[in-house]
């Protein structure tokens, strides 16, 4: 998806601005000095493995976590202020719904919690049901819905007050591919309306499809930030990635891969090469070292490659 034109905006009017955010839980530093800006109409992806600090960062943005240092502001307001809460919509990772209430009743409840009443509430509920394609299921109790429908209702409940900024915390967890596509379409519709979004995921395909810019987060730090192409360019420039699977991936193979400047992850060696001609040299060296190759392939670097290059680990670890 092409990036929308980003105009220069005074920092106080940015949809979301995080500066020097630190959050510790005992000895664990979940968020470690994060500085980040979300521009108007932008979809910013937060990409990182489980436990990287994505959810803590999101909860800080919603004002549900008190940071040890740093600030979070929504259109210039502190994250825990009423103004920020009304401007922000949050789709939590958990299915935060009232299971025995129907879709409509759930939306009405969350709408009322946001101060909606009367015709405004009715219109908001109708819009959400339509957006989530749940109009036909409006009278169905939430616990009777399929997994994908529950996810869509969960998203709709976060949008009932029509916020200007939306935080989506892994909204596709546990969803089948068909439902995931439907969710992507819903998000793309919001994006097209110019809503600013932060989207966390540990699926690089989602980040590549939906996000204008991507922040890669690991161990509570933003280790890279930019568009997909910028990230790949900064990590690989014009180089390519060669993947090699060995017949046996023992310690001697790991040592050999490391010696050749590669990374061994889950039995697969990753090498960065400037030219395809380097492949022959690697094969020859492997044969001389006595390591039998089972399979090799060449691929254009993607976000997964970037993450591996930056952290030495795969995204789904």
């Amino acid at each position: 998806m092409a990036s929308p034109p980003i105009v220069s905006t005074p920092s106080s009017l940015l949809p979301l601005r995080i500066e020097g955010l630190i959050k510790r839980f005992g000895d664990l530093t979940a968020v470690n000095g994060v500085t980040l800006e979300l521009k108007d109409g932008e979809c910013l992806g937060l990409l990182g493995p489980n436990g990287a600090g994505k959810s803590t960062l999101i909860r800080s943005m919603v004002g549900r976590v008190i940071p040890d240092a740093g600030t979070v502001s929504i259109f210039g307001d502190r994250a825990d202020s009423l103004g920020a809460r009304m401007a922000l919509g949050w789709v939590p990772q958990e299915l935060a719904l009232y299971a025995r209430l129907t879709c409509r009743e759930n939306l009405e409840s969350f709408g009322q919690y946001h101060g909606l009443r009367g015709a405004a509430l009715k219109a908001a509920v109708a819009w959400c049901l339509d957006w989530a394609a749940l109009t036909d299921r409006a009278q169905e109790p939430a616990h009777h819905l399929s997994g994908g429908m529950k996810r869509r209702l969960n998203m709709a409940a976060g949008l009932i007050h029509r916020p200007k900024v939306i935080l989506m915390d892994e909204p596709t967890v546990g969803v089948d591919p068909q439902s995931r596509n439907r969710i992507f379409e819903m998000i793309e519709k919001l994006h097209a309306e110019g809503i600013s979004m932060i989207y966390t995921t540990h699926y690089m395909e989602e980040a590549e499809r939906l996000c204008d810019r991507i922040a890669i987060i690991d161990h509570g730090r933003i280790i890279a930030l930019g568009t997909r192409d910028e990230l790949v360019q900064s990590a690989f420039a014009s180089r390519s990635e060669m993947l090699a699977r060995f017949a046996s991936a023992d310690d001697s193979v790991a040592a050999w891969v490391k010696q050749r400047g590669g990374l061994l992850e889950n039995g697969m060696a990753h090498f960065t090469i400037d030219h395809a001609t380097e492949i022959a040299g690697l094969l020859d060296a492997a044969a001389k070292a006595g390591h039998e190759l089972a399979d090799i392939s060449l691929r254009k670097p993607n976000l997964e490659s970037v993450f591996l290059q930056l952290t030495g680990r795969e995204l789904r670890d």
Binding site: R59, G63, I66, W90, L95, A96, A99, Y113, H114, G115
Partner: protein
């Protein structure tokens, strides 16, 4: 195959502290409570309080009262407890009756003028004689019977000379030499006796039986509380059982906070306009409303099925119902805010509520408990709520007399709410 199943179950039980507590601690706690209530220790056997009014001030009446005071199972009170250090006046017939109505004691004895002149019960039902009045609260089915029996015993043991003198007087009067008149009287008495025995054998009574027949002293018993009630214990049990179940309902309803925390809806709600204070106020209203509705249903059922005198007492019921519902609602909120999970809430609430209910009078009337247990019961919501409902439905007291119960229940509710709010801060931010 059986051994691994048992082993797995035992490991699971060992790691479930709530289930462990319910399995081992709760039975011990209950056993201890009921052992104390029913006098497991000799020195804790409850004494029966009796108010005594001496209108006669004769040697006989004084010796009778002294005899009652020597009875180890009685606590005889001739005057109310001192107020702010000032001695109170002796009870009169009127103040003693009022005290029984107010629940100060289950029984009052009034020794009338002329008792010392003619203390012995003899001469048939029509014989005019001074009669000791026993005023009782019929909700206590034990104390009046105990006192009536002890009164007869004390009369015989505390004034044997007077009883002998009175016996001689009657012997002189009725058996002084078998004159024709004496013969006529004896024949008449025998005929009366035959008639009565014949009637009793046939299962019918031609005339009202003399309740003092065969007793040394004449006693007339009168219910001063609940005399017009069709079913004396219904109001007590409606309140007692009702409050216990209200506590269970409120703890379960309060647990919805834990459900919301576990499901994530709490985070979502708190990221809206709703603050923790507003949320807890809403939950408190819900718990209290549910509890009040439960009381309404319970008392209406008691009215329809058990003839509880509900309609005239609606204003008092509403006041007590709302105060009780508020206190139990706050209790439910406190339990929920103490616990980390629903799984913790279940055993803890069961443990606390059953203990509160047992010492607070929901399972066993407090007036039958040892004094120390009765005082301990005042630490529970149950005791204050039951006392309030008893005042309304049993003692027919005016609404203004409910102020101690109302103040305590509201105070308890406010304090529990404040503690719950403080504990709930952990949900506000992490």
């Amino acid at each position: 195959m059986i051994f691994p199943i048992v082993r797995t179950a035992l490991i699971a039980l060992r790691r479930d502290r709530g289930a462990l507590a319910l399995s081992f601690i709760l039975p011990i706690v209950f056993f201890s409570i009921f052992a104390v209530i029913f006098g497991g220790r000799r020195d804790s056997t409850p004494k029966v309080t009796v108010l005594v009014v001496d209108e006669d001030h004769s040697p006989a009446s004084e010796r009778l009262i002294q005899g009652l005071e020597r009875e180890g199972s009685l606590s005889v009170k001739k005057k109310p407890a001192p107020k702010q250090g000032a001695e109170q006046k002796d009870y009169t017939a009127a103040t003693a009756e009022a005290a029984v109505k107010a629940g100060t004691a289950p029984v009052a004895l009034i020794v009338p003028h002329g008792f010392g002149e003619n203390p012995i019960s003899f001469g048939g039902a029509n014989q005019k004689r001074p009669t000791i009045q026993l005023l009782k609260d019929s909700s206590d089915m034990v104390a009046p019977e105990v006192i009536a029996g002890l009164l007869q015993k004390v009369a015989m043991t505390s004034m044997p000379d007077i009883m002998a003198e009175q016996g001689s007087k009657y012997m002189d009067e009725f058996a002084g030499g078998f004159t024709p008149e004496q013969r006529k009287r004896i024949d008449g008495s025998l005929e009366q006796l035959r008639t009565r025995q014949s009637a009793e054998r046939g299962g019918q009574q031609s005339a009202p039986a003399d309740p003092n027949r065969g007793m040394p002293v004449a006693v007339s018993t009168r219910d001063v509380v609940g005399e017009n009630k069709d079913n004396p214990m219904v109001s007590f049990y409606a309140a007692a059982i009702g409050v216990m179940f209200l506590l269970f309902t409120a703890s379960s309803a309060g647990g919805s906070l834990l459900d919301e925390a576990e499901s994530g809806t709490l985070d979502r709600v708190l990221s809206s306009r709703v603050t923790m204070g507003t949320l807890m106020a809403g939950k408190l209203c819900y718990c209290s409303l549910l509890a009040f509705s439960q009381l309404v249903v319970m008392f209406i059922w008691a009215w329809l099925v058990f003839k509880l005198d509900f309609i005239p007492h609606i204003p008092g019921f509403v006041i007590m119902g709302l105060c009780t519902a508020f206190a139990v609602g706050a209790f439910g909120m406190l339990l929920a805010s103490i616990c980390r999970t629903r799984a913790q809430l279940g055993p803890l609430s069961t443990l606390v509520i059953l203990i509160m209910s047992s010492i607070g009078g929901s399972m066993f009337p407090r007036f039958l408990m040892p004094e120390a247990m009765q005082k301990a019961g005042l630490l529970t919501i149950n005791a204050w709520a039951i006392d309030g409902f008893t005042k309304i439905f049993w003692r027919d007291e005016p609404i203004s007399h409910l102020w101690p119960q109302v103040l305590v229940l509201l105070g308890v509710g406010v304090v529990l709410c404040a503690i719950a709010r403080r504990l709930a801060r952990r949900w506000e931010y992490s």
